[in-house]
């Protein structure tokens, strides 16, 4: 049934030993009188908190693993799971909304709203991906939905500061227990749901046929699949409701099981939940161990949910490196040849109108003239325009070099990498630190993604997955800072959301110079952009050196992304969307596409900045958040049009 390969087997055994060892260490530390706990309380602490915590880790990990397996089987997509498909973000958003409406929710009600949010997200993703559920389009639809849910979440948190702390503490995945209630509830639900799901999966495996074959057998199969997906969503969202968002366990567990040689459905059913349980126990053991190691020096708690993406991302990137991830081909977008110059003219006209209106409106401040506001406004409008230009150019270059229409600074993890770099720079101090951090973060992320992509021959699945891994990792690190309770967290939060309103004259001019330089260099890169997609051999035959070309393009993209992220944050979607918008309006070929995309992305960000200023006066909504809220539906409509 399972033929265990040697090295992965040894690694798994090591992981299990480490998890058990760390767990035992935290129990013995509680008993240690030097720890300062009164002996009678220490005994209670172990039975009421530490032991339930072990159960919660095992049960949650197992539940997420099983849920992921169901997603993959039913959707026939090896990368589908609750986190990548936006289910966890949907649940998080649902629970956050409910928490803000009523100060305190009991866990059962949390589960209910979490399930509603998770199902809504899942429905949206499946609807968007349509018949492409087996391909990478599903993953991108999931990424978009979870990023949008994430930006709504941040928006709420930013303006509901009374709840900010509580919501972030819960969302960051703190596994601490105050009793055995959660462990019991999880065990009960898992005991009810797991057998049901196993039966459904076995039943569905009998119909492991093509969609056409399934349809021939009648609608019952579709209903069964939907039921299985619904139950798997319930499983994942109940974990979210109890312990917060635990990312990557669902993604990593099935891959670990596959890496351990589990080929048959039966073997995977057995191994996947176990892998998930061990992974979460290990992450929790590390979180507690780090807490003990630094006790007496740190003033905050390390939530386990922050560590799982770190562990999961490492495992995932390693598996991608070892090329153990199955891949499905993606399809390229057809470009239309229409009237490129007219498309560019239209885009520039719209941009000009947006800029003028944004500079002149005084809707909320009738007492002031535009001239008085000019001093504060031109930097933010300029930085929105330049960020749009830079993200669009980066997007066009990335899509051309990877040959993947869903690749972009945002989806490949460059923007989140830059965002993480900015946060690091913020705490390291100084304005210079911000820019260095942004560019270094983007470059590191890109380097990692490209190394992995190259090993996987730039197949779209692994490429996007590596991007998702890096993006989730960066987001986890940022939420750790926010959950720490440091009053600067609000600043980090705002930074990570793309605050054009923070634009300073000097920064705006620097950004504009970078954008101009990007625009001027762009024509020099066009030759490479046309040659590289033809393949390395062709490129060499045409006199280009592919390695040099890729390196130069990589630095180009990373620098532009770094500057842009500094202005509008990591989640604007401008780089993902603009190339598609340009195509829709008839700009064909990388040259026209670049210019046209730049104008549209700039328009999007100027509009987002303007709307952010007007909607909630005197509070200002960061342009990055609004751009993703405005842009994501637009993007989804664009990719939906293709069908």
């Amino acid at each position: 049934m399972i033929r265990l390969p040697l090295w992965p087997g040894l690694a798994a055994a090591g992981a299990i030993l480490l998890a058990v060892g760390l767990t035992l260490a935290s129990i013995s530390a509680a008993r240690d009188p030097a720890g300062g706990l009164p002996p009678d309380f220490a005994a209670q602490w172990i039975t009421l908190s530490l032991l339930p915590r072990i159960w919660v880790a095992l049960l949650s990990g197992g539940a997420l693993g099983l849920s992921a397996l169901v997603f993959q089987q039913v959707l026939r997509n090896p990368l589908a799971e609750p986190a990548t498909l936006g289910v966890l973000s949907g649940a998080q958003l649902g629970i956050t909304l409910a928490t803000m409406a009523a100060v305190s929710l009991d866990p059962a009600l949390r589960e209910l709203v979490g399930l509603a949010g998770g199902l809504a997200a899942l429905g949206l993703v499946i609807l968007l991906a349509g018949r492409n559920a087996a391909g990478p389009a599903l993953l991108v639809a999931g990424l978009v939905v979870s990023l949008v849910a994430g930006s709504v979440f941040v928006l709420l948190a930013l303006f509901q500061q009374e709840q900010l702390r509580a919501v972030f503490v819960w969302a960051s995945g703190n596994l601490a227990q105050n009793g055995s209630g959660d462990a019991r509830a999880l065990a009960l639900r898992l005991a009810l749901l797991a057998p049901l799901l196993l039966l459904l999966l076995r039943g569905l495996a009998l119909f492991a046929l093509s969609d056409a074959g399934v349809r021939g057998l009648g609608g019952n199969v579709v209903a069964l699949r939907l039921l299985a997906l619904g139950l798997a969503t319930l499983l994942a969202t109940m974990v979210t409701a109890r312990v917060g968002v635990i990312g990557f366990v669902g993604l990593a567990a099935p891959l670990i099981a596959a890496g351990l040689g589990a080929g048959s459905l039966r073997a995977r059913l057995l191994l996947t939940p176990v892998a998930g349980a061990v992974l979460l126990l290990l992450a929790d053991g590390v979180a507690q161990g780090l807490g003990r190691l630094f006790s007496g020096r740190v003033t905050t708690v390390l939530p386990t949910g922050v560590l799982t993406p770190v562990l999961g991302a490492v495992i995932l990137l390693a598996l991608l490196w070892l090329r153990r991830i199955p891949d499905r081909p993606g399809q390229a977008l057809a470009t239309r040849r229409r009237h490129p110059p007219r498309a560019v003219a239209l885009a520039l006209l719209v941009l000009l109108a947006a800029v003028i209106f944004s500079l002149c409106e005084t809707l909320h401040l009738p007492g002031l003239s535009p001239a008085e506001l000019w001093q504060g406004r031109w930097p933010r409008v300029l930085s929105a325009v330049s960020a749009g230009v830079m993200l669009a150019l980066a997007g066009v270059v990335i899509q051309a070099t990877t040959g993947n229409p869903l690749a972009s600074p945002e989806s490949l993890g460059l923007s989140p990498g830059a965002g993480l770099g900015i946060v690091a720079g913020l705490f390291a101090g100084g304005a210079a630190g911000l820019l260095t951090g942004a560019v270094a973060g983007a470059l590191l992320a890109f380097l990692l993604v490209m190394l992995i992509a190259a090993r996987n021959r730039f197949a779209p699945g692994p490429l996007l997955l590596a991007g998702v891994a890096i993006g989730t990792f960066a987001a986890a690190m940022i939420s750790l800072v926010i959950a720490s309770g440091d009053p600067r967290a609000v600043i980090v939060l705002a930074w990570s959301m793309g605050p054009t309103y923070r634009a300073e004259p000097a920064g705006a001019v620097t950004g504009a110079v970078a954008a101009l330089a990007g625009l001027m260099l762009f024509p020099l890169l066009l030759r490479w952009l046309r040659i590289l997609p033809l393949g390395a051999a062709q490129a060499r035959a045409l006199g280009a050196r592919p390695a040099v070309a890729r390196a130069v393009l990589m630095v180009y993209v990373a620098v532009l992304t770094g500057f842009a992220t500094l202005a509008v944050g990591p989640i604007s979607f401008a780089g993902l969307m603009a190339p598609h918008l340009a195509r829709v309006f008839g700009a064909a070929g990388p040259g026209w596409q670049g210019v046209c995309a730049a104008a549209w992305a700039a328009t999007l960000l100027v509009a987002a900045d303007l709307a952010g200023r007007l909607i909630w006066f005197p509070y200002e909504i960061p342009a990055g958040v609004l751009a993703s809220l405005l842009g994501a539906p637009l993007f989804l409509w664009l990719i939906g049009r293709r069908r």
Partner: protein
């Protein structure tokens, strides 16, 4: 206590009247004391109000009413946006003579300077003596607003409150819950810590704290101080905390030594210190 509260209300009314009658004339002569002030930080906003000055605008004014509570902002105080990021255009439209900010927090003073002169007070910092710095802020603000007498009177009230009836010598743990499993415990560097000492009480928390004077931790950290009284600053923790077995196993809870204190601003100034001392004495 009640007398003190009434006095401060009367001062507020007097201050508001002073703004109405004398504000325009004073603002006209630049460089002189001013009342056209915007406070971006609540510690400075509460100090202004306690001195009888009605601020033009305060950041997140609606939330101030729930977190700082007293002294209440005069009706008509405008909201100027987030404390970390006020609306600069609205700020410019108000044409203040002075902007008050917490040093090291929020928007860089250099940007505000383009709108109006800025005073940034470093109440919470690595210096870790917020009460001393808050007293200095009262004196400074008294000078800036021409309310030296009110400032002296406010400081006298603080001294009187701190010299008031001693608390019993049981150590205290001052905490605020983030959710039912994570809490902030206030130690060295917090306003509460500085108030406890002169009142004759000791802060049980001797562990490390950040620059704002608190540490985040789980319930178990409280068990290390079984003899202490647990003082919880509202907003109260979620009701499910009280039902949880671990909470009921805490030595302080078993001995019934838990006190719930109405909201006090944890990063406050002298008025918050007064409110904390009064609420603690009454508890």
């Amino acid at each position: 206590m009640v007398a003190g509260l009434a006095l401060s209300r009367r001062q507020v009314v007097a201050g508001a009247a002073a703004v109405l009658w004398g504000g325009a004339a004073r603002a006209a002569s630049r460089g002189a004391a001013t009342d056209r002030i915007v406070a971006l930080d609540w510690a400075l906003a509460e100090t202004l109000v306690a001195l009888g000055v009605a601020p033009l605008a305060v950041a997140e004014a609606p939330l101030y009413a729930r977190r700082v509570v007293e002294p209440a902002l005069p009706a008509g105080t405008r909201d100027i946006g987030l404390r970390s990021w006020p609306n600069l255009e609205a700020l410019r439209a108000l044409q203040p003579d002075l902007i008050l900010a917490m040093a090291g927090y929020g928007i860089a003073p250099a940007r505000l300077e383009r709108i109006a002169p800025v005073r940034a007070f470093p109440l919470y910092s690595e210096a870790r003596r917020p009460l001393d710095l808050a007293r200095q802020a009262v004196r400074d603000l008294g000078g800036l607003t021409g309310r030296g007498a009110q400032a002296a009177e406010l400081l006298d009230r603080l001294d009187a409150a701190l010299a008031g009836p001693r608390l019993d010598d049981r150590p205290l743990l001052i905490v605020k819950f983030a959710d039912d499993r994570l809490l902030d415990v206030f130690g060295a560097g917090s306003l509460f810590h500085d108030v406890l000492r002169p009142l004759g009480a000791t802060n049980a928390w001797t562990g490390p704290t950040n620059a704002w004077g608190f540490a985040s931790t789980g319930l178990e950290a409280l068990a290390g101080h079984p003899e202490a009284r647990l003082v919880i600053i509202e907003p109260a923790p979620p009701p499910r905390l009280a039902d949880s077995p671990l909470w009921r196993a805490l030595p302080q809870v078993r001995a019934g030594r838990v006190t719930l204190l109405p909201p006090v601003w944890v990063f406050g100034g002298v008025p918050s210190a007064l409110r904390f001392a009064r609420l603690l004495g009454a508890a």
